[in-house]
Subunit: 183 residues, 2 copies
DNA sequence: ACCTGAACACCGTTCAAGT
DNA sequence: ACCTGAACACCGTTCAAGT
């Protein structure tokens, strides 16, 4: 399968290594043959993006709603952090991914369950998604060295070297801001 | 000046149109001549990214600190939204932009002024930057059509069609979450 | 009818040849 | 010494020629 071959390349060598010639070679065929199955390179990117989206996490049952919301997004972040190339694909093109919509629906529902008014849920979802995307796409914020080394004060166990924890910190703040909860 | 020529191209025709041949033509010279002034294409991107960063907004004086913080980020967003290609450059490479650091320092100081503990300011800054970057890079969140059309309820004057206002909404929530303020 | 080698129009980058 | 035309090693995409 062409999607499987493309994913093998992209997981092993990154998005820049994903050329049609490389995928063709992986399948033991010429690059021109790929055009029997896809319209262009963009479509191939769309297909592998949807393929990763298939394994986006589902919400866990049972926890309290706010916890469930936070865990879902944190799990989504950690999963996509292992497949950063997917974030790059989503950012460039206007990709429509059916499998991603399942995650989006779950995230929207979790937000409402946690107490977000329905009229704000969609904007809240988008805000969370943009926060996630920003974290995935930019390891180093604008002007790395602002303020010198991260002032690791006592009790500050979240360093920039642990992107998952850093996202978790930001996520909690944004969720609390959306839910209007004081900590 | 080579940077000016490159910016002319990128502003008029977008980042994908920025080829070295095109810039060379703009300057009335061959593409090979550019290598007298820059090491490679990446360096040219870095130079024009730093060039936009020169005009990033400065904080306004006088307002109350929270307002000043919100205005600074909102102005930063609106400015970069007019130069979206810059966000793409920052997202791909590990760009170090001296001019961007001035904005970053101001944003950090504004956060502290607004009451953010120093030990959290850097993480707060990064969270805000990632939210901004996510907004700039992704016009359409994962699976556009979740929940059908944005449920524009009465009093909901922020639609997805106004990216500036949408960012403003998310920004306010994240800032309030960081500052631990209840609305 | 289906597949694909070879070609086309690009790209960033290099380097020997020109001044 | 400085500049650059022409070439090189890539791309995505097309299409006529092969089966």
């Amino acid at each position: 399968m062409i999607v499987a071959a493309a994913r093998r390349v992209v997981e092993a060598e990154g998005l820049d290594a994903l050329t049609l010639r490389r995928v063709g070679h992986e399948l033991g065929t010429g690059q021109a043959s790929l055009y029997r199955h896809i319209a262009d390179r963009r479509e191939l990117l769309e297909l592998i993006a949807d393929d990763v989206a298939r394994d986006l996490p589902r919400p866990r049952e049972g926890d309290d709603p706010r916890r469930r919301l936070l865990d879902l997004w944190r799990a989504g972040h950690d999963y996509l952090a292992r497949h950063r190339w997917a974030a790059r694909i989503i950012a460039d093109g206007d990709i429509v991914s059916p499998h991603a919509e399942r995650f989006a629906s779950a995230a929207l529902a979790a937000l409402v369950d946690a107490g977000c008014p329905e009229s704000e849920a969609l904007r809240g979802y988008r805000a969370l998604w943009h926060l996630l995307l920003g974290h995935l796409l930019n390891a180093h914020p604008l002007g790395h060295h602002v303020g010198g080394e991260p002032a690791t004060s006592p009790g500050d166990n979240v360093s920039a070297d642990d992107p998952g924890a850093e996202f978790g910190w930001a996520l909690t703040r944004l969720v609390d801001g959306i839910l209007g909860r004081d900590r």
